[in-house]
C-alpha cells in the first residue's frame, strides 16, 4: 500500500479507478472538495498528482484549484508519506512542558528530520500546531490516536505498537 518516497508514482489503473470511485460520491458537489481529498488520501496517505487530476475531472473543478486546496491544508500531502503519520505538537503549551526533548528524541529514534519519512516507509513525522489535548501536554498523534503526558522514555514503547 505504502508508496516509496522518491520512487516513481505507483498510480496504476487500479488505484486510479479507486480514486474515481471515491470522487464519484462527491460528483456535482464541488464544495465537498476537502472531504473528497480526505477520502482519497486515506488510500495511500498522500495525494499523487494523477489522483488530483481525477478528482478535478469528476468534481468538475479546475485542476489548479484542486492542487491549491491539496497544498494549502497541512493534513494533506502531495508527497509520498509513510504508513503512519506522526503529528507532534510544538506549540507553546507543549513547548513549556518539555516538547523539545520529546521531539529531539523522536527524530533521533526514527533517524529522520522533521517532515521526513523513515527508510522503511513506516513513519512520517510532521510538526503540527496545537492538537487540542494541552491538558496532557506534551502530546503527539499517530494516525487518529493521541498520546499525552509524554517523556522521551515513552516513545520506544509507543512506536513498537506500530511496527
Amino acid at each position: 500500500m505504502t508508496a516509496v518516497p522518491g520512487a516513481a508514482c505507483q498510480c496504476d489503473s487500479d488505484f486510479l479507478s479507486q480514486v474515481e470511485r471515491i470522487a464519484s460520491m462527491y460528483r456535482g458537489k464541488p464544495e465537498d472538495l476537502v472531504l473528497a481529498l480526505h477520502d482519497v488520501q486515506a488510500l495511500r496517505n498522500y495525494l499523487p498528482r494523477e489522483a488530483l487530476r481525477v478528482v478535478a475531472r469528476v468534481l468538475d473543478v479546475p485542476e489548479s484549484r484542486v492542487y491549491g486546496v491539496a497544498t494549502f491544508y497541512s493534513m494533506f500531502s502531495t508527497k509520498p508519506r509513510g504508513r503512519h503519520i506522526i503529528r507532534i505538537c510544538e506549540s507553546a503549551p507543549c513547548h513549556v512542558m518539555g516538547a523539545k526533548e520529546v521531539i529531539d528524541s523522536l527524530l533521533d529514534q526514527l533517524g529522520v528530520e522533521m517532515g521526513g519519512t523513515t527508510a522503511d516507509c513506516l513513519f512520517t513525522v510532521e510538526a503540527t500546531s496545537c492538537l487540542g489535548v494541552c491538558g496532557v501536554a506534551p502530546a503527539l498523534m499517530i494516525d487518529d490516536e493521541v498520546y499525552g503526558n509524554l517523556v522521551p522514555g515513552d516513545l520506544f514503547e509507543i512506536l513498537e505498537r506500530y511496527k
Partner: protein, 550 residues
C-alpha cells in the same frame, strides 16, 4: 427504565483518551460481565470530567468516588473491591474535588464553589452518545419553548438582554449579531458553528462537543429560528476524530426523533445540520476563511466588509458562532436573561470556560463566572505552581493573547480588564509558565507558530511573521540590537494596521505585552545575559554556526 445499583463513569474526553481511558473502560466492562454484575452496574463513557492531567478518571456513583490515573491494575482492583465488595479503594482515590461530581455528604471547600457550570452542566455527567440522557436533563426544552411560545424577535431580545458575547475570541455581542442577520432580507440564510478550534492551549470546544453534543445542536436550531435560517454547518477540525464521531451520531439521533428536519415541534420551522471537516489550517478559525473552506476552497480570509452577517456562505447572510457561545443559548432561553446576568460582572455577564495548561498543578477544563481573578484560578482551582517553582507569566486567550506578569494576578478576568492590560480573554486558553522559562524562548515559540500558520495571502502577515522569527532568533543568540527590537515592534504595528485578518493583526498582542511586562529580561538579552540560563550566544565552533538552544 432499567435500574442499576452503581454507575461507573469513565471520562472519555480526548485528553483522557490520550491517557488510555478506552482500554480501561473495556477492561471494567469485561470484569463487570465476568462477575455477573452487568445487570447491576452500568459503565458509561462520559465527556470531560475536568482534571485532564489526572486521567484516566473513573467515578463510581452513587458514592461519587473519584479515582484518578486508573490503569489496568487499578481497574481490576476497583471492580473487585468497590463494585463487588462495596469497599471504595481509598489508595486510588483522587484527593481533589470535581465540580461535576456531587456526593451525598457534600463538604466541598469554598474555592470549588467558585466553579459554576452552565455550558458544562452535563459534561462529565451524562452519556454524550445518548439523546435520552440529554432530554432527561431538560435537553431540547429550550428549543420547544422557543418554537412554540416565542417569536424569533423574542429570542433575539432575550439573547441581547443576557449580555452574551462571542466566546471564540472577538467577544462580539451575540444578540446584535443575530439581529443583524435577522434584519437582512434573503431567501436563504445559514448558521455556522465554528468548531475549528486551533488556538494553542484551547481545547474547550472539543470537550463541549464530546461531552454534550446535543446542547450545541439545540443552540444552533434556536439561532436558526431567530434569524430565519434553515440550514446549519458545523465546521470542525479534521484532527478532532472523537468530536466528529460524537457530533455526527448526535445529529443522526436528533433527526431520528424529529428534532432536526422538517416541521420541528409542529411549528412549521425546518432546520438541518451538516458537519464539515477541516484539514489542518489555523487560519480557518477566522470566520471568512472558514466560510471559504466550507465552500471547498483554500481557507484564506476574505476582505471585510461585507461581513458574514449580510454576505457569508455562498453570499448569503450567515451567523458564525463559536461552540461555547452556541452552548450558552439553550440555558439562556430556558432560564431567561436576568438569570444569566446573575453570573459574572455587569459588563461581562455569564461564565467562561477556560482550559488551564502549562506549569500548574491541576491542568484541565474549568468553567467560572466572569470576573474571577487569575490568582483564584491559578492558586485556587489550579492548585498552584508545581515543583516549588514560582509564577512567571500567564498567557490568556491563546497564542494570539497577551502575556501577563505577576502584577496582573489580582485583576478580574473579564473582557474590559483584560483589554486594559493589553490582553484578551480570547478563546479561554490559560497557559501558566513558571520561572524556569526564558521569556525570549517563549516569544520564539509563539512567533514560530504565527509564521507557520500565516496563510500567505497578505504581505504584512506573510513577511512580517517570518521577519519577527528571525529577529527573535537573533535575540536568543545574543546577536540582536535595540534597533532590531524597535523594528520588531514597528513590524507588529504595521501588521496590526494592514493585515487582512485577525491572525496578522493580533501578533502585536503577545509581542507588545512581552516587550512591556518583561522589558528587563528582554533588554538583558541585548547584553548577552539570560537570567534563566537557557539562551547561549553564538558559538565559535568550527562551523561558525550559532549554537542551538539547550
Amino acid at each position: 427504565m432499567e435500574f442499576y445499583r452503581s454507575h461507573v463513569l469513565v471520562c472519555g474526553g480526548s485528553p483522557c483518551v490520550a491517557a488510555g481511558c478506552r482500554a480501561v473502560r473495556v477492561e471494567i466492562e469485561r470484569l463487570v460481565r465476568e462477575q455477573g454484575l452487568d445487570r447491576e452496574v452500568r459503565v458509561v463513557e462520559t465527556g470531560c470530567l475536568g482534571p485532564c492531567d489526572q486521567g484516566p478518571i473513573v467515578v463510581v456513583y452513587p458514592e461519587g468516588t473519584v479515582y484518578h490515573r486508573v490503569n489496568m491494575g487499578a481497574a481490576r482492583e476497583i471492580v473487585a473491591e468497590h463494585l463487588v465488595k462495596g469497599r471504595p479503594v481509598t489508595r486510588l482515590q483522587y484527593a481533589g474535588e470535581l465540580p461535576s461530581v456531587s456526593t451525598a455528604d457534600d463538604k466541598r471547600t469554598d474555592y470549588f464553589q467558585i466553579q459554576k457550570r452552565i455550558v458544562l452542566e452535563n459534561v462529565g455527567l451524562i452519556d454524550p452518545e445518548s439523546i435520552e440522557e440529554y432530554i432527561a436533563r431538560d435537553g431540547y426544552l429550550a428549543l420547544g419553548t422557543a418554537l412554540t411560545n416565542l417569536r424569533p424577535a423574542d429570542v433575539i431580545e432575550t439573547v441581547k438582554r443576557s449580555g452574551l458575547r462571542g466566546r471564540g475570541g472577538a467577544a462580539f455581542p451575540s444578540g446584535a449579531k443575530l439581529e443583524f442577520t435577522a434584519r437582512t432580507e434573503s431567501d436563504q440564510k445559514y448558521i455556522i458553528c465554528n468548531a475549528d478550534e486551533g488556538e494553542p492551549g484551547t481545547f474547550k470546544d472539543r470537550l463541549i462537543l464530546e461531552g454534550d453534543p446535543h446542547k450545541v445542536i439545540e443552540g444552533m436550531i434556536i439561532m436558526g429560528y431567530a434569524v430565519g435560517a434553515t440550514h446549519g454547518y458545523i465546521y470542525i477540525r479534521g484532527e478532532y476524530y472523537i468530536s466528529i464521531e460524537r457530533i455526527e451520531r448526535a445529529i443522526r439521533q436528533a433527526r431520528w426523533l424529529g428534532l432536526l428536519g422538517a416541521n420541528l415541534f409542529g411549528s412549521g420551522f425546518n432546520f438541518d445540520i451538516e458537519v464539515k471537516k477541516g484539514a489542518g489550517a489555523y487560519v480557518c478559525g477566522e470566520e471568512t476563511a472558514l466560510i471559504e473552506s466550507i465552500e471547498g476552497k483554500r481557507g484564506i480570509p476574505r476582505r471585510k466588509p461585507p461581513y458574514p452577517g449580510t454576505s457569508g456562505l455562498w453570499g448569503k447572510p450567515t451567523v458564525v458562532n463559536n461552540v461555547e457561545t452556541i452552548a450558552n443559548i439553550p440555558p439562556i432561553i430556558l432560564n431567561g436573561a436576568d438569570w444569566y446576568r446573575g453570573f459574572g460582572t455587569s459588563t461581562s455577564p455569564g461564565t467562561k470556560v477556560f482550559t488551564l495548561t502549562g506549569n500548574v498543578n491541576n491542568r484541565g477544563l474549568i468553567e467560572v463566572p466572569m470576573g474571577i481573578t487569575l490568582r483564584e484560578v491559578i492558586y485556587g482551582i489550579g492548585g498552584g505552581i508545581p515543583d516549588g517553582r514560582s509564577f512567571k507569566m500567564a498567557q490568556t486567550g491563546g497564542t494570539a493573547g497577551g502575556c501577563l506578569a505577576e502584577a496582573h494576578l489580582d485583576m478580574p478576568m473579564d473582557y474590559e480588564s483584560m483589554q486594559s492590560a493589553g490582553s484578551a480573554l480570547g478563546s479561554g486558553a490559560l497557559l501558566i509558565i513558571d520561572d524556569s522559562h526564558c521569556i525570549v524562548d517563549v516569544a520564539c515559540s509563539l512567533l514560530h507558530f504565527f509564521a507557520h500558520e500565516s496563510c500567505g495571502q497578505c504581505t504584512p502577515c506573510r513577511e512580517g511573521t517570518t521577519r519577527l522569527v528571525q529577529i527573535f532568533d537573533k535575540l536568543r543568540q545574543f546577536r540582536a540590537t535595540q534597533a532590531d527590537l524597535d523594528l520588531a515592534m514597528e513590524l507588529a504595528t504595521v501588521m496590526l494596521r494592514s493585515s487582512l485578518c485577525a491572525l496578522g493583526q493580533s501578533v502585536v498582542v503577545p509581542l507588545g505585552t512581552i516587550m512591556q511586562h518583561f522589558e528587563g529580561e528582554i533588554q538583558a538579552h541585548l547584553h548577552g545575559k539570560c537570567s534563566v540560563g537557557l539562551c547561549h550566544g553564538a558559538c565559535d565552533c568550527a562551523e561558525g554556526r550559532p549554537a542551538e538552544n539547550v
